[in-house]
């Protein structure tokens, strides 16, 4: 599965994109965040305030309780500030 990070989430994790194998039992976006937090200090820092992080599955906005299903790509980013 491809994970993407944008804006300050990208800065804090130190990477823009990666391909990962999710551990068994990780079924929702919130559970992916929970797992990411265990992957080292950069990730723990980036996802410290998990409630402010927004997510998209295959380029559609989703909530943290959304199920991953057959997602190809999950993105994590701060609230958007375009316009």
């Amino acid at each position: 599965m491809r994970l993407l990070y944008f804006a300050w989430v990208k800065e804090k994790t130190g990477i823009a994109a990666e391909d990962v194998e999710l551990p068994p039992g990780v079924a929702t976006v919130g559970e992916v965040i929970g797992w990411l937090k265990t992957r080292g200090p950069e990730f723990a820092h980036a996802f410290e305030r998990a409630e402010v992080i927004r997510a998209a599955i295959d380029q559609n906005h989703v909530r943290h309780d959304a199920r991953i299903g057959a997602a190809r790509e999950i993105a994590f980013f701060p609230p958007v500030t375009g316009g």
Partner: protein, 152 residues
């Protein structure tokens, strides 16, 4: 139509293109968002985005506006990359027979774009740079359209 681009846009040229060969349009509303220097605090603004999803969201919003109002034409252009104070950031153009639909749809598109298009601003000034925080007012502006919809 929607476009995401680094290059600047010319509002008059965009209107001319949208009107070309048509005589049925009665009202055209444009909104242009530009970079403010905030009394010298900002010297540069960088816009990052999620390529692919930005286009998808803008297309979805445009379709929603067209479903909600009788628009004859619409255009959203959003710039990315590094901008300076005074530079254009975003353009919304809506055209309809009568002004109400064009005014309302333009405002709706901007209110929704600000809370759903995956773009992020980073501001740089004399004292360093930081990511712009989302405005709670932007969420309220979007919510007000959802309430209007529910009331309809």
């Amino acid at each position: 139509m929607i476009r995401v681009q680094q290059e600047d846009f010319d509002v008059a040229a965009e209107i001319a293109r949208l009107k070309a060969g048509r005589s049925d349009i009665g009202a055209i509303v444009t909104f242009t968002g530009t970079v403010r220097d905030q009394a010298g605090a900002i010297t540069k603004m960088t816009l990052e985005h999620y390529p692919g999803m930005t286009e998808r969201e803008l297309t979805r919003l445009e379709a929603e506006a067209n479903a909600r109002w009788p628009l004859q034409a619409s255009l959203i252009v959003h710039r990315t990359g590094t901008l300076r104070p005074g530079d254009n950031i975003v353009l919304v153009v809506t055209a309809s027979e009568h002004r109400d639909a064009a005014f309302d749809a333009a405002r709706f598109l901007m209110d929704y774009l600000k809370t759903s298009a995956p773009l992020w601003k980073r501001e740089t000034g004399p004292h360093g740079s930081h990511w712009v925080e989302a405005e709670p007012d932007d969420e309220s502006a979007r919510a007000s359209w959802q309430q209007k919809r529910a009331a309809e």
